[in-house]
């Protein structure tokens, strides 16, 4: 049996005055899946999250979240989703634990879950610290812990690692993979293509409100692998790029016979280079 569809967008468009922020967007997210919504700033990523979570009304189209139209989203849906945006605030004059406890009371979550999550995000030893005294990375981990406090079915992460140091970003990536493995669906918006390639099952490349590419990161990269080149490293540390032709095949055969071939890699494009290709930006 296939995985359950938790979220679907059907021909969503959003217009702000004369500007179209989203144009005919259709996607779906299933349980245990990480969907990446990728694009530069202003591409419409946050607008999409706001529409799906009922904070903004679309101009046309339908968004269905956990079986309910996002225009009629109610408390029972909010009890089953978690949202982390760059504007997710914390109560700065309350401690880390008090912040968690407040939302645990709202969402009727048992107290032992707070300690469990604080340990999981590495904030347990800071639980008595005022939230206003936390570093940016610690705040982001607190916001994430709070968002998953009630074990949501879908987690919305809007640029969760933006501006964080690599080790904190890595910890957040690790946590996202764990949550996915527990069956949580994650809707991730990012402009970090490397992050998307590493984490996402599917990605939608968004440019000026349009989805310009959709698929798994590997599929998309292979789709644009038109040059079919290979990079080889020889035992004398010499690197060579080979074309996909008979002459290269002969060279390879010789190197293998001579036992001088150290490694061989295909040179398919990265998501970043695909994005640049489809949006035409490399021409500028």
């Amino acid at each position: 049996m296939g995985k359950k569809e938790l979220l679907s967008l059907h021909h969503i468009s959003k217009k702000f005055k004369s500007e179209l922020a989203l144009k005919d967007i259709s996607i779906s997210v299933h349980e245990g899946e990480i969907l990446g919504f990728l694009g530069p700033s202003g591409a419409g990523k946050t607008t999409a999250i706001k529409i799906i979570t009922g904070q903004l009304k679309q101009t046309s189209g339908d968004a269905v979240i956990l079986g309910r139209d996002s225009r009629n989203i109610n408390e029972s849906i909010y009890e089953r989703i978690g949202i982390v945006t760059d504007n997710s605030g914390i109560y700065e004059r309350m401690t880390v634990y008090q912040n968690m406890l407040f939302f645990a009371k709202i969402l009727r979550v048992e107290r032992k879950r707070i300690d469990e999550l604080l340990k999981r995000v590495g904030l347990y030893k800071h639980k008595k610290k005022l939230a206003g005294k936390l570093s940016k990375g610690q705040v982001q981990r607190l916001v994430l812990a709070r968002a998953i406090l009630h074990r949501p079915k879908i987690l919305f992460l809007d640029e969760p690692t933006s501006g964080l140091d690599p080790s904190t970003a890595l910890e957040i990536h690790k946590l996202m993979i764990e949550l996915k493995n527990e069956g949580m669906a994650i809707f991730l918006t990012t402009h970090n293509m490397e992050e998307a390639t590493k984490l996402c099952d599917h990605v939608a490349l968004l440019n000026e409100g349009n989805i310009v590419e959709f698929g798994s990161p590997k599929e998309i990269c292979l789709r644009y692998n038109t040059d079919k080149r290979y990079k080889v490293l020889l035992s004398n540390n010499e690197e060579q790029v080979l074309e996909n032709d008979q002459q290269s095949a002969n060279k390879l055969k010789d190197w293998i016979n001579e036992n001088v071939l150290e490694s061989i890699h295909s040179c398919e494009p990265t998501l970043e280079s695909v994005f640049l290709t489809v949006t035409g930006r490399e021409l500028q």
Partner: protein, 248 residues
């Protein structure tokens, strides 16, 4: 719209902590108490005999009550709401299964309790003869007036983007509701306007007590008091329906 008591109680507790830990907000009721005590001793030192003592102490009580009911009611409520927007906690809360009514109740209960406690302490601090005060009536009128101020504070809070703008928006409104009843005795025109303000009803009650009379529970006063709490609630609903708690 459903109401969950556990959510209202959680928000109430959080708002209490937020108000108590915010020096600007906690200063408001303290300021009302301080001004009452300072004016009491100032007026007492000016009194040559006791014949006009209750009248003078009535003025002191009136001043303290106006400050507490209007300034604390509006400023604390609107600033607390504005702070939630400024720190981006409001949106987090509203997308955590809290509905507008639960947030509204959780937000006005803490300042309201604070105001009511101070309202009940002020007669003791003002020096007015306590036997002239009919406490049930005093409690009823000051509490209804305090609720009206808190609701108006929520309305101004909706239009305020941050705590600074909450003060800017609330200031002219608080001045109207504080100064008109305060200066009603100086001018007939102001007195006529004051009769139609909920703070005017509070002021009239205190004037009656200071003259050793019962509070005037006439139809006009009751209509003004309860009419304005209903008007404030309707205004809040209209503004909330149009903007939510954020006007963006």
């Amino acid at each position: 719209m459903t109401l969950s008591l556990h959510k209202i109680s959680a928000i109430t507790e959080m708002k209490f902590k937020a108000i108590i830990s915010n020096k600007n907000l906690i200063m408001m009721p303290i300021f009302s108490i301080a001004i009452t005590v300072v004016y009491r001793f100032l007026y007492t030192s000016l009194l040559k005999d006791n014949s006009s003592a209750d009248m003078m102490m009535g003025i002191v009580l009136n001043l303290g009550l106006m400050m507490n009911i209007v300034m604390t009611g509006m400023m604390v409520t609107s600033s607390a709401l504005a702070e939630e927007k400024e720190k981006h906690t409001l949106r987090t809360l509203m997308t955590s299964s809290v509905n507008g009514l639960e947030f509204f109740l959780g937000s006005i209960i803490p300042p309201l309790i604070m105001i009511i406690i101070v309202n009940m302490i002020l007669p003791f601090l003002s020096g007015i003869s306590l036997e002239v005060i009919n406490y049930p009536i005093y409690f009823l009128i000051t509490t209804v007036a305090s609720i009206t101020s808190c609701v108006l504070g929520m309305v101004t809070g909706i239009y305020a983007k941050n705590q600074m703008s909450a003060s800017t928006i609330s200031s002219p409104i608080t001045m109207i509701f504080v100064f008109i009843p305060t200066f009603a005795s100086l001018n007939d025109g102001i007195a006529r306007v004051s009769r139609f303000l909920y703070t005017g009803v509070v002021s009239e009650m205190i004037t009656s007590y200071s003259n050793h009379q019962e509070a005037p529970l006439n139809a006009l006063n009751m209509a003004v008091l309860f009419g304005q709490i209903i008007a404030a609630a309707i205004l809040f609903i209209v503004v909330y329906k149009r903007n939510g708690y954020e006007t963006d």
